[in-house]
Symmetry: C2
Subunit: 480 residues, 2 copies
């Protein structure tokens, strides 16, 4: 029997938490004396009240949370947070349409950073702060998700190296898992703080520094400027690059760094490939940009920034790559399928999965030459089980099937070939900037309404590593 | 030790065979009294002489053919056949450039049907006959390859149902394998004969009927008309559709049909999906074409023809789908990744592989809900081993990686995004018509030279099911 009560109870509790979060931008409104204070108070009151009703009516729920409840909660919480999180936009009039407000909010919580707002700078500070806070909250959600919830559900990449995360009941976290989650949150907040200070040091005000640090460490991409990071100095651009890389790195490696376990960092194959992909792509792109585009330093900076922004699935912008040679923006398009590291806040397919797929292909050749030998795939010196290779392959296959069907639907809704593919890959990967009509200097405002809902779903499904959402559409999931 | 002598010996023998094949179009030249007789005699003489020298110098070779020799022979024979097969084009002046002549020839032998000829109708009959004969010969090669050689090498889909094909030495075929190969060739020739008669019945002359039957049953796509099959009546178009479907069907099913084993046909899951994909895609496309394009019968016929032509990887044309709504030609683009059936002359990924990938993804959900249970993938009522699922997944992954890298290279050579992807998918899949500048009413004449060589390689690698060619680039293959 599905324990519906505990699902509603937990959702009610989490809604109350969201309502409390909404009081933070209310403080920003007070400081800046702008007219979005009342909308925040109203939104908070509505969210807390409804959460409270959910929670109080189900307070006798049995505390047992099984796998099925886990899948349902994880998906619904992202949706319901986005529904209530869009209240401030709607009530303040910043984004009057529900479709647009929902798109913007789920884009925030999934740390995608795709926007439908044409003039960001016209919005009040409170609204902009809430917008960036959706990244902050989303990033925290992702960290606890990857470290604790998804491994328990048997989804996602972290399980590869987190055999300890064998079970978790949300109100009684396995001590090790709770410890890990707290550790990751600590690192997350620490890195946000350091980036904020470094940005202020470069001349940013506290407000912008906080918003952009939230956007960086969550690998989100919402900016407070229409020109995104191009509005700031080269120093600030390099700072953002540095922290985007940290955000796209497995957070366990940051922990090892703090603990001085450097060996563990250098032995990590995913990290090596993650950094190599960024560096090699940068060099290739910079090489061509120097010829046609800009002087060496600027070419290198633009290439490094855009490559990092896309590989880490952040989505900040300093250059319009759709204006580069078609070879280069095709290259950028391909990079959108990479994704950052497992156990980071980045999205997409992720480097570890690519690495395992490549390794398995190479091993397949060995198997062809020696058909009777059992040759396993190894990573970081460990044998990877067939079950995991299967899961990674199935993930990759589904990722592409979903990518193709959704792109096809978007062209059916009236978008062109290139923009459709760009829009789907950037939302599925949680990046934020696409190609063509949804490129880095455009936004998603003109996407047809049906397309906006489809892309909202892509953000959700991509963020939750496909399986978590798709399994809800699998009939056997609901039987008995 | 690699048995180099037997490789050269067999290649010499096969070259002599090719030289003899070249005498057939010479007869056509005599009949039509055209000036391409001498070029054919010269080409034949050169090919037979060189083949003879290879063969006579290595006649003392040990008859032992291992796996490694097999891989090398299979790849080289396709290349060397294309090199010598381009002689008639060059010597007759029909295609003066070696790059173009090689492209046209390998496109014929791999039964792709991508062409660089602008005005087919200006060519002499002998040349056109040789062009269609490269399809005929290529199709025969593919049948023996899939049934006998690739299973022995551990590549390709046929091994799924052909456990008996465990070993083969070309001059002493395993009786069962030899019998199977002869049976398939018999069916191939029979179907070509029936189509020829049916086309003549529809008013075609013998020459056109033979050329188009070769092109159909080999799922090739070279036509003797600039307008391809659009130059002929609806009756002929339906005949070609019917035989394209037969060419894309597993040839074992034709054998079952002849033997009256209807149960085996209806139980075959790949066949069901193959037919369903064609029918459903046709209905979807026809539905939209009726609104904007043409009356019902013509819309249905155009949709059915193009869908069949692409799914079976033939490449004949009756309608320019790039002029259809962008949604529809994106749909066509996606269909280019389907491929026909295993054990047919079609190319591409093939329906059976897609089926296994889908089944494995569904099973993956079951595994997530019941992590301790061992749940295998089943097809046609049989359990499919993990090894095969692995192989299929690795194939799919490599197919996409090669597709992406090659498309990227083509944009680097100066082609646009859409045309690049269209050119690569159509050559890898052995289809023949792409998108954009290489769409159904254009051809490959304007592709840059580097691009032509890249696409020639794509035809080869796609035809030989990737592994066969790629393994030659794997260093361990050449060790000891």
């Amino acid at each position: 029997m599905l324990n519906k009560k505990i699902i509603i109870n937990l959702l009610g509790f989490l809604l109350m938490v969201e309502g409390v979060f909404m009081l933070v931008p209310a403080i920003v409104s007070i400081i800046y004396k702008e007219n979005d204070l009342v909308p925040f108070l109203k939104s908070s009151a509505i969210t807390i009240s409804i959460g409270f009703v959910f929670w109080i009516l189900t307070r006798d729920a049995k505390r047992a949370v099984g796998k099925r409840e886990g899948f349902i909660i994880v998906t619904i919480v992202w949706v319901i947070y986005s529904v209530f999180g869009s209240l401030p936009y709607i009530l303040s009039g910043a984004i009057p349409s529900f479709t647009n407000a929902f798109f913007e909010t789920i884009s925030g919580f999934t740390t995608t950073g795709a926007s439908i707002i044409n003039d960001v700078e016209a919005l009040p500070h409170g609204i902009l702060f809430w917008r960036s806070m959706t990244h902050l909250i989303g990033g925290m959600g992702i960290l606890v998700l990857t470290v604790a919830v998804l491994p328990f559900l048997g989804v996602g990449g972290m399980q590869l190296f987190n055999a300890e995360a064998s079970g978790v009941a949300p109100d009684k976290l396995h001590p090790k898992v709770r410890e890990t989650a707290q550790r990751l949150w600590g690192i997350y907040i620490l890195l946000i703080s350091i980036e904020t200070i470094m940005l202020i040091f470069g001349g940013m005000n506290l407000f912008d520094a906080l918003c952009h640090s939230f956007g960086t460490l969550a690998s989100g991409g919402f900016s407070t400027k229409n020109a995104s990071i191009a509005a700031f100095s080269p120093y600030i651009q390099y700072v953002v690059i540095f922290f985007m890389i940290l955000a796209g790195t497995n957070f366990n490696l940051h922990y090892y760094l703090i603990k001085g376990k450097f060996k563990k960092i250098f032995k990590n194959q995913e990290y090596k490939y993650f950094i190599s992909i960024i560096l090699i792509s940068t060099v290739v792109i910079a090489f061509f940009l120097v010829k046609t585009h800009a002087p060496i330093e600027k070419s290198f900076r633009d290439a490094l920034f855009q490559v990092t922004s896309i590989v880490t699935c952040t989505g900040f912008v300093t250059a319009d790559y759709t204006g580069w040679a078609k070879f280069l923006w095709f290259f950028i398009f391909v990079l959108m399928f990479v994704g950052g590291s497992v156990g980071s806040t980045s999205g997409g397919i992720k480097v570890l999965r690519h690495l395992l797929l490549f390794k398995n292909s190479v091993v397949e050749f060995k198997r062809m030459l020696h058909p009777s030998a059992v040759i396993p795939v190894r990573c970081n010196g460990k044998v990877i089980s067939n079950e995991i290779i299967f899961k990674v392959h199935a993930f990759f296959f589904m990722y592409l099937v979903i990518f193709i069907i959704s792109s096809l639907l978007l062209t059916f809704f009236g978008m062109d070939f290139v923009s459709s593919m760009g829009a789907v890959v950037t939302t599925m990967g949680g990046i934020g900037q696409g190609l063509g009509s949804v490129g880095p200097v455009s936004n998603f405002a003109l996407v047809p309404t049906a397309g906006k809902w489809l892309l909202s779903f892509m953000m959700l499904i991509g963020r939750l590593e496909l399986f978590t959402v798709i399994i809800l559409f699998y009939p056997a999931f609901w039987e008995k």
